[in-house]
């Protein structure tokens, strides 16, 4: 048995209270993912030890679900809504435009490691179609041209929190 590393001890602490045979694997994966943004090989080993599952079993489950990454996440997340209402409003064109600007395909990180461009599923905010999520926040009523501008701003390193806000924000609170 190798010595417990500091990293492993920290992971184990996150899994406090989770037990084998109790249906806790998803919860374990969510906790680790929430804390680190991805499930490392080390984390899979610790989860396996805690829940008495083989690392292969944990790896199989981790990679089965599309929400879990196995590599550290870039600082910016951009998710493209793949839902039908968005598709009817040129979501495919928006996807292509973002891929061209960021220089990566959907499901990849941009080559500079700054932006994760991921596939998002419809959650029923279709009045915003076509939309993307930037850092989890909906940027809606896009078109391809606005998507190009958004992606260029991200590629230029601008603060994602300040991008894609509707114009009406300028007069907030002064109505």
């Amino acid at each position: 048995m190798p010595l417990e590393t500091e990293a492993k001890a920290a992971i184990r602490a996150l899994l406090d209270g989770l037990a084998p045979g109790d249906g806790d694997l998803l919860e374990a994966l969510h906790r680790i993912h929430h804390a680190y943004g991805y499930i490392s090989r080390e984390a899979m080993e610790v989860i396996g030890e805690q829940l008495r599952l083989t690392p292969a079993h944990v790896y199989g489950a981790t990679t089965y679900y599309s929400d879990f990454r196995t590599t550290p996440p870039p600082p910016v997340s951009l998710a493209w809504c793949s839902g039908p209402a968005c598709r009817l409003r040129n979501a495919n064109g928006i996807r292509g435009a973002i891929e061209a600007v960021l220089g990566c395909e959907l499901g990849e990180d941009s080559p500079d490691g700054r932006v994760a461009f991921t596939l998002g599923q419809c959650v029923g905010t279709c009045e915003q179609a076509p939309q993307v999520w930037l850092q989890g926040r909906v940027v809606g009523q896009l078109n391809a041209a606005r998507a190009v501008e958004l992606a260029r701003s991200l590629a230029a390193g601008e603060d994602p929190e300040l991008l894609g806000l509707p114009d009406d924000g300028a007069t907030a609170g002064r109505g």
Partner: protein
């Protein structure tokens, strides 16, 4: 037990009465996924800042939005006299109007007023008179939407919540009678399979093992469906009460509510509601002192569509990859941890609570002979008004489309309806000519080779390309196949390839036959994900046959698989061509205002950004339509 309930009810009634008739006006902002997407967070910040800056005598609170989602962010004002009015869209720049209105300048927010939710306001119609709600009858499942704070147990109690549970555990109903009542009401499952709930509960009640589980399927994965989300974010205790009734009726000891990971607010609200109910003695050990015990927990999914299939969901709960398995054994024989289990949809449990509260006869008053009760639907796509409503089964779809403001074109301008896509990727789609005569009832849809599903209906306008839609759904089905059955995971790969090739200009005469063959193979997959996946393809070949054939006929090796869509410079005099040149993400547009512009088709990725900015200067051609037009002339 009824004493224990009465003890909870008394302070709850007082709290809710105070909320309905507040000491000073209160502005309740819709606080749910759709409101947040529209920027409710920024509206909230603006409201807080403005009330503080003015020292305005108003309070702020929260509700769930009433369903008119295209008008988000929605907000309500409730006055001390008990009148409440719905407003929208309340963007940050309009919060001052709302504060004016709330503090006595009647009419300040008149342009945003949508209707009266409670009481009366001179000159304003009741919200039920809004054209969007023209098809609704009584709101039953949505009765509390806009009328309670969704995070308040007291509000749920004060509006009759948990009374049916209290009466039940007080032995006014036996377990068998509770199951029988669901059968008498004609409650059918709302997840899309329409299995009678009472029968399913009987399976579990008759299981030999004492350790029995309930599962609430809240893995609402069909794109375009957000029915369960509304219930979880808008009235979470209704689901808990429904599950407790099912647990009592089947002697289940524990329930899992499996919520998709994409719904973080629903997870938060349901978890909080569970904690509140436990704290109040309505959930957990010895509920209301009756000796009946049942615990509930939330499991959060992580992005896998097939976990919506009950055996996939069960596998996901018990630490395995969420892969569906062969039935039998059915969940009632071997479910979670191989123990007898009953799986129902969120809306089914919610309905069960209503049935017990109001009786089978009341329940059957709405709906049709074959399908009793109401159904929540979510409507999206090429329509003027996106949102959700609760409709009696059997409502004519034509009337619903009118309520939705009619079909639109891709641009959002009014247009013709081309098709409807109900029930998610497995359910197929139907052309407008058939959709026009349908009633919202499973039999009507099944008669045309499609499924009504779980309540999401996407309207498809005249500008849509059915082959492109088919590619989209085929890709989804391929991506979300669990991989267990070769027929499904390879079959859907082939289906995607064929449709993509047809769309990209490489269609072949034999494609139709090969797709039909693929459909034969796919239907022998183990679960419904594989077996129903050819539905959309069959609908395309059956109802959009001409469009499919036109794409195959227009196939041309010269296209080199780059598809039928072309952008070209159409008008050199358009001053916006310069901005089109600058926006192009691949520098396919060259030139200058003086020397004119050219567009390099080899570089063009058909994103349409240039056309967005210079719709006159840049033309968007569909070569299939052009070829068809040539063939006619």
């Amino acid at each position: 037990m009824l004493d224990a309930y009465a003890a909870l009810r008394e302070p709850a009634d007082a709290a809710h009465a105070g909320w309905r008739r507040p000491v000073r006006p209160r502005i309740d902002l819709a606080w749910e996924t759709s409101a947040l997407a529209a920027g409710a967070g920024r509206t909230q910040a603006a409201l807080e800042a403005e009330t503080e800056a003015r020292g305005a005598a108003v309070d702020l609170g929260r509700v769930h939005g009433y369903g008119l989602q295209w008008l988000q962010p929605l907000a309500q004002i409730t006055w001390p006299d008990g009148a409440a009015v719905l407003y929208g869209p309340v963007t940050p720049d309009r919060v001052g109007l709302l504060i004016d209105e709330a503090t006595g300048r009647a009419g300040a927010a008149a342009e945003l007023a949508l209707g009266v939710i409670a009481g009366e306001r001179p000159g304003l119609p009741p919200i039920e008179a809004h054209p969007f709600l023209a098809c609704e009858d009584e709101r039953r499942l949505l009765a509390r939407i806009g009328r309670i704070d969704p995070e308040s147990l007291e509000h749920y109690l004060a509006t009759g919540g948990y009374h049916a549970l209290a009466r039940m555990v007080d032995r006014h109903h036996g377990a068998e009678a509770v199951r029988q009542l669901q059968g008498d009401a004609g409650l059918i499952g709302r997840g899309g399979a329409f299995f009678p709930a009472g029968v399913k509960w009987n399976f579990l009640a008759g299981a030999p093992d004492d350790e029995r589980y309930l599962v609430c399927n809240a893995d609402e994965g069909d794109p375009g469906a957000w029915v369960n989300r509304v219930l979880m974010e808008g009235d979470p205790h209704l689901i808990i009460e429904g599950m407790l009734i099912a647990a009592y009726a089947t002697a289940a000891i524990h329930g899992f509510i499996y919520i998709r990971g994409e719904y973080p607010l629903a997870v938060e609200r349901v978890r909080e509601a569970i904690a509140q109910a436990e704290q109040a003695g309505l959930l957990g050990d010895n509920i209301l002192g009756s000796g009946f015990s049942c615990t509930l927990e939330v499991i959060v999914g992580a992005g896998a569509y097939v976990c919506g299939e009950e055996t996939g969901l069960i596998a996901s709960i018990q630490d395995d990859r969420g892969m569906p398995r062969i039935k039998p054994p059915f969940p009632a024989q071997a479910g979670v941890f191989y123990k007898p289990t009953n799986v129902n949809n969120v809306e089914t449990y919610a309905n069960a609570a209503l049935v017990l509260a109001h009786g089978a006869e009341w329940y059957r008053e709405l709906g049709t002979e074959r399908n009793s009760g109401t159904k929540i639907f979510s409507f999206s796509g090429d329509i003027a008004r996106t949102g959700f409503m609760e409709l009696p089964w059997g409502t004519p779809l034509r009337e619903v489309l009118t309520a939705l403001g009619g079909a639109t074109r891709g641009s959002g301008a009014p247009g013709e309806l081309k098709a409807i896509q109900p029930g998610g990727p497995l359910a197929g789609y139907l052309p407008a000519a058939i959709a026009d005569g349908l009633n919202l009832e499973k039999e009507d849809f099944a008669a045309h080779g499609t499924l009504i599903g779980a309540g999401g209906i996407v309207f498809v306008g005249e500008d849509a390309n059915s082959i492109e839609l088919n590619v989209m759904f085929a890709e989804f089905l391929e991506e979300e196949s669990c991989g267990r059955c070769t027929s499904c995971h390879h079959g859907n790969q082939r289906m995607t390839e064929v449709f993509k090739r047809v769309l990209d200009g490489g269609g072949r005469a034999e494609d139709r036959h090969n797709l039909e063959q693929l459909g034969q193979a796919l239907q022998y997959s183990n679960c419904v994900h594989g077996s129903a996946s050819p539905t959309i393809m069959r609908n395309t070949l059956r109802y959009f046959s001409e469009e499919f054939d036109a794409h195959v006929a227009a196939a041309d090796p010269e296209l080199r698989g780059r598809g039928f869509l072309r952008f070209r410079i159409a008008d050199q005099s358009d001053p916006r061509l310069e901005s089109a040149r600058l926006i192009c993400p691949v520098d396919a547009i060259r030139g200058s205002p003086r020397g004119g512009y050219s567009l390099d088709d080899e570089l063009c990725i058909r994103c349409g950004a240039c056309h967005d900015l210079a719709p006159r200067g840049i033309a968007r051609d569909d070569l299939v339509a052009l070829a068809a037009a040539r063939a006619v002339t």
